[in-house]
Subunit: 155 residues, 2 copies
DNA sequence: TGGTATAACATGGGAAAACATGGGAATCAA
DNA sequence: TTGATTCCCATGTTTTCCCATGTTATACCA
């Protein structure tokens, strides 16, 4: 079976004047092993940047490629939004990617950014915004705790 | 696994007096790697130009002839329209393609154009029109958000 | 165990290459 | 010839690449 790749951990890095950020080294290892590339886009539902391996989008494209849906309006809209926003972000020899103005603005990132692992994907946040978001999520999860199953909460 | 070819990102380029536009460099890379060519045609459902690799139309054609009962008369008609309109658009040594008067008129493009990635396809818009269209799509998609899957919207 | 050497990493800055774009000469067609 | 199309060169800008430095983490040894 193929090795699985999970983006994990939370890492704070600086963003320099050119918009460059070091990709966490764990993430870089994943990219190298998977022989794919990092793709980033503006999250549809939060003020943050979302990233994943290009493989994930490739899967999406293949599903839509079916000529039965060649003329579907709804899929048309969806592909415009996703692929129109997404872009490859290869890292240089020192491990940095260069985030575009558009992404930085959407996530309100200026001089530092937090990488948050999410399994197959990861997010990049403005540090203060992430702090608030994490609080919100923790509160939310605790509220719904009784309904959580199979995630090691039995005892 | 095959290397992935995805048209992505949104790029604004100028159209000069001769009708020349630089094809975004990412797109050029795809064309070179795929050893195919760019094909453009008037979009059937929007005031924009649509483009893809010739491979994709090739695939569409094959599926049409293989599955006689599979496709409705309506889709057959739509496909005919596309093939009747489509044409190769090779780029020169500086990476520019020359859009025809017909295409430019259909998309109301004069002195600048926006390339919008759609995965296997891409679109070329008049900048103002695209701005409105993007707004429309965002509104539309967010309205239907619960139904989105595998497109990075879980959180 | 403590301390030091070594390697990996994050970060800054400058050089080099790639890119978008304008213009003109050469080529071709009506 | 006229108009259009292709090819080539020039230029300013952006992006990418490469080297240097300080810091942190890891390995090693006494």
């Amino acid at each position: 079976m193929r090795k699985t790749f999970l983006f994990m951990d939370t890492v704070l890095n600086k963003v320099d004047a050119k918009g460059r950020v070091s990709l966490p080294s764990d993430y870089r290892a994943i990219v190298k092993e998977s022989e794919s590339e990092i793709v980033c886009y503006r999250s549809l539902c939060a003020p943050c940047i979302e990233g994943c391996l290009e493989d994930l989008l490739e899967k999406l494209a293949s599903e839509m490629e079916d000529s039965l849906d060649f003329f579907s309006q709804k899929q048309d809209d969806l592909t415009n939004l996703i692929f129109g926003d997404a872009k490859r972000y290869p890292f240089d020899s020192t491990g940095r990617i260069m985030l575009s103005e558009k992404l930085l603005k959407h996530a309100q990132i200026t001089d530092s950014a937090v990488f948050v692992g999410k399994g197959r994907k990861f997010q990049i946040w403005n540090p203060e915004n992430w702090e608030k978001e994490e609080q919100r999520i923790r509160t939310e999860v605790l509220k719904n705790r009784p309904s959580l199953k199979g995630a090691g909460n039995e005892s």
